[in-house]
């Protein structure tokens, strides 16, 4: 055996191991892309529905879909955050608006960012927002309160087997080191579109 060959093999194998370590991390964006395409993990689009989409679904169809709303403040977020309506029955294609209430319970000003999620996951592709507080950040002075809203419609193409879905929001504190990267992620995504 030549020790050159041996060293080359060791390096190649170490390279393979390093590559697989990288691959584990590459799975993260890959997974997001796959879920984006298939809409299976309930991560709804983070931007407003396209104009064409809105036009295409002008006419409401005769079918009922029940939507539940959930809202919660993330750990370390001193806000009260809740939907004003818990449930709404809508028809696909029809425009709707739902309001949420937020109040800053702390004694200093806090900025928040809400992150939405939809279940069942398959419904995420068909839940279209026209305008949403989750598209931007909210700032509340100490003790401040406000109502924030989402305008949305359910795509007429949503499979008939889904007749109930849940829209939930988690409100994060912005500027929290913990979630800074998240916010920049959202900004990057919004700038893309």
């Amino acid at each position: 055996m030549s020790s050159r060959a041996k060293n080359r093999h060791v390096l190649l194998l170490l390279g393979l191991a390093a590559g697989m370590f990288g691959f584990a991390f590459a799975l993260v964006p890959l997974y997001d892309i796959l879920c984006d395409i298939t809409g299976i993990n309930g991560k709804p689009a983070l931007q407003a529905a396209l104009h064409e989409e809105i036009e295409a679904s002008e006419s409401a169809i005769d079918r009922e879909v029940t939507i539940q709303f959930l809202a919660k403040a993330a750990r370390g977020m001193p806000w009260e955050f809740r939907p004003l309506e818990n449930k709404m029955t809508v028809r696909p294609g029809e425009m709707n608006r739902v309001m949420f209430y937020v109040r800053n319970r702390s004694n200093h000003s806090v900025t928040g960012q809400a992150v939405p999620s939809i279940s069942p996951g398959q419904a995420a592709l068909y839940f279209k927002k026209i305008e949403c507080f989750c598209f931007e950040q909210q700032e509340l002075a100490a003790g401040g309160e406000m109502e924030i809203g989402v305008s949305f419609f359910v795509d007429v193409d949503m499979p008939a087997k889904i007749n109930e879905l849940t829209l939930s929001y988690t409100m994060f504190r912005v500027g929290d080191v913990e979630h800074e990267h998240l916010i920049s992620h959202f900004e990057a995504e919004r700038d893309d579109t």
Partner: protein, 531 residues
């Protein structure tokens, strides 16, 4: 050619000299022994945790073990068995046997070999010390799903993460060593297609290790940053996804289960021809079947996740791919049976273990096929049926494989024959106890008993009592095994070089006990040797 760093000065205290010898050894046989001893110790530790679990499960209700502590026992039992008992035992066998089987003087990277081993005691001390920490040991199962292990994990989770990193480094270095040895150090004339099956299965296992241990390292790193550095890989509320954890984990996890069985396949393929006094049937198909199993194992991880809400297409693909693995697995089973067919069989202890391996592993393969069916798995997932499945492939598979290997090669290692009477007693007790323990779990599982519970409803009481009795019996048989191994090392009938009448292969040309240094000059491989 290979430097042995065994410079032990003359006038040391004997104890120091002893410690230095084992601490600094770079000899593949001594390192093999170290691996085997450590894995046996960890097997006892993880096994005694199982004894406590079975004690709690003896009767419905909570009697002896606090449910929270039960979760810790369960987690450590799984982790230590997988990473501490099964994997190091196989690496120990690889160290002992691969150089002797391919006619090499040692492993290619002896000092790395020493390092790979000595990481392990530290890794497991870290992991096991978590039992004594505030907040207790990890309690989220050996699969450490997020968010149980991230948001809700006890503080000791960080020790677990570090421990897994260390084990990963050890395994990767061990695997690199094995591949480089097999590729570079084969004696002249020992072509790939003449290598004994054990060497082949380890070559493939080593590639699996190099490809998936880094993924495991990746996933625990993500856990660590999620826990402490503000990322949200697995936190839905922060834009991540806990299901992603399962994908990455099982991308590691499914090949991992083959890492725990392929060397066992190799062992059975060595033992059966010896005692059937025939060449291994279908050597080439065995090699290709092993390769096929390894390749397929990368695309079936989703069968652990059928209930997470996958798209139908993915479920179908994974279901068919999983069932496809049964084909090369079946090829192997049929080849073993064909090797025995019309052989002049004798039933020494290693052969009994090998035959039991084939039969009971097949039972586990069949329950695996049942679990591969999506509609069935949606029923069986997370029940005791899964526990029955993986214990059938792991106990009579990986553990019986290792024990068979010890009975088979121990005379070569220590120069004494095993007391056949005791060996057979051990075998029959263990076989009886394994089935008594794990077979009833099929029934409780099908009847709906969930896994990972310290308490259960009354209708499962009888079967659980049987399982518990079986488990304690199984625990006792380990003491018998330990006794037999120690007794054989200390004395017994002298073994010949060939040890077993029908044994073929380079390791049987070396005197017994094998001298510390073998094949300093490469052996001549007879042209008709091999297959």
């Amino acid at each position: 050619m290979v430097a042995h760093a065994q410079i032990v000065p003359k006038k040391r205290h004997p104890l120091l000299a002893f410690a230095a010898r084992w601490l600094f050894t770079t000899n593949h046989k001594e390192i093999g022994t170290l691996y085997l001893c450590l894995s046996f110790l960890l097997f006892f530790i993880a096994g005694s945790m199982a004894m406590f679990m079975r004690l709690e499960l003896f009767e419905p209700g909570i009697q002896f073990v606090d449910p929270l502590f039960y979760n810790q026992l369960l987690t450590l039992h799984g982790l230590v068995m997988v990473f501490g008992a099964v994997m190091p035992a196989f690496v120990g066998l690889a160290n002992w046997l691969i150089p002797m089987m391919i006619g090499a003087p040692d492993m290619a990277l002896p000092r790395l070999n020493n390092f790979s081993f000595w990481i392990l005691p530290f890794a497991f001390t870290l992991l096991l010390s978590s039992l004594f920490m505030e907040g207790g040991a990890p309690n989220f199962g050996w699969t450490f799903y997020a968010p149980l292990s991230t948001t809700y994990g006890p503080p000791s989770t960080d020790f677990f993460i570090l421990g897994v990193h260390l084990m990963g480094i050890s395994s990767i270095m061990g695997a690199i060593n094995i591949i480089v040895t097999i590729v570079n150090l084969r004696a002249p004339g020992m072509t790939y297609m003449k290598m004994p099956m054990f060497v082949w299965t380890w070559l493939i296992t080593a590639f699996l290790l190099i490809m998936v241990m880094p993924v495991l390292a990746g996933v625990v790193t993500m856990m660590l940053t999620d826990r402490h550095f503000g990322t949200s890989f697995f936190d839905a509320a922060g834009g991540g996804d806990p299901v992603l954890f399962q994908h990455i984990f099982w991308f590691f996890g499914h090949p991992e289960v083959y890492i725990m069985i392929l060397p066992g396949f190799g062992i059975a393929s060595q033992i059966i021809p010896t005692f059937a006094r025939k060449k291994l049937f279908g050597y080439h198909s065995m090699v290709y079947a092993t390769l096929a199993i390894a390749v397929l194992s990368f695309v079936v991880w989703g069968h652990h996740m059928f209930t997470t809400g996958m798209p139908l297409f993915a479920e179908l693909f994974i279901m068919y791919a999983t069932m496809l693995i049964a084909v090369p697995t079946g090829v192997k089973v049929f080849n073993w049976i064909a090797t025995m067919w019309r052989g002049s069989m004798t039933f020494e202890t290693p052969m009994l273990f090998a035959i039991a391996f084939v039969m009971m592993f097949t039972i586990g393969g069949f329950s695996g096929l049942m679990l591969a069916l999506v509609p069935a798995d949606i029923q069986y997932h997370d029940t005791y049926f899964v526990v029955a499945h993986f214990h059938y492939v792991l106990y009579p598979g990986a553990i019986f494989g290792t024990m068979g290997a010890v009975y088979y090669w121990l005379p070569k290692w220590c120069g004494h024959m095993v007391d056949e009477r005791l060996g057979k007693l051990h075998f029959w007790c263990a076989t009886f106890a394994v089935n008594l323990t794990f077979f009833p779990m099929h029934f409780t599982g099908l009847a709906g008993m969930p896994r990972r519970v310290p308490d259960y409803s009354l209708q499962f009481a009888d079967f659980n009592m049987v399982s518990s009795i079986g488990a304690w019996l199984l625990g006792l048989t380990q003491i018998l095994f330990l006794y037999i191994v120690v007794k054989t090392i200390r004395g017994g009938e002298k073994a010949t070089a060939q040890v077993w009448e029908g044994a073929e292969g380079l390791e049987w040309t070396i005197p017994s006990p094998a001298p510390l240094h073998t094949f300093e000059t490469p052996p001549v491989i007879a042209q008709d040797h091999g297959h």
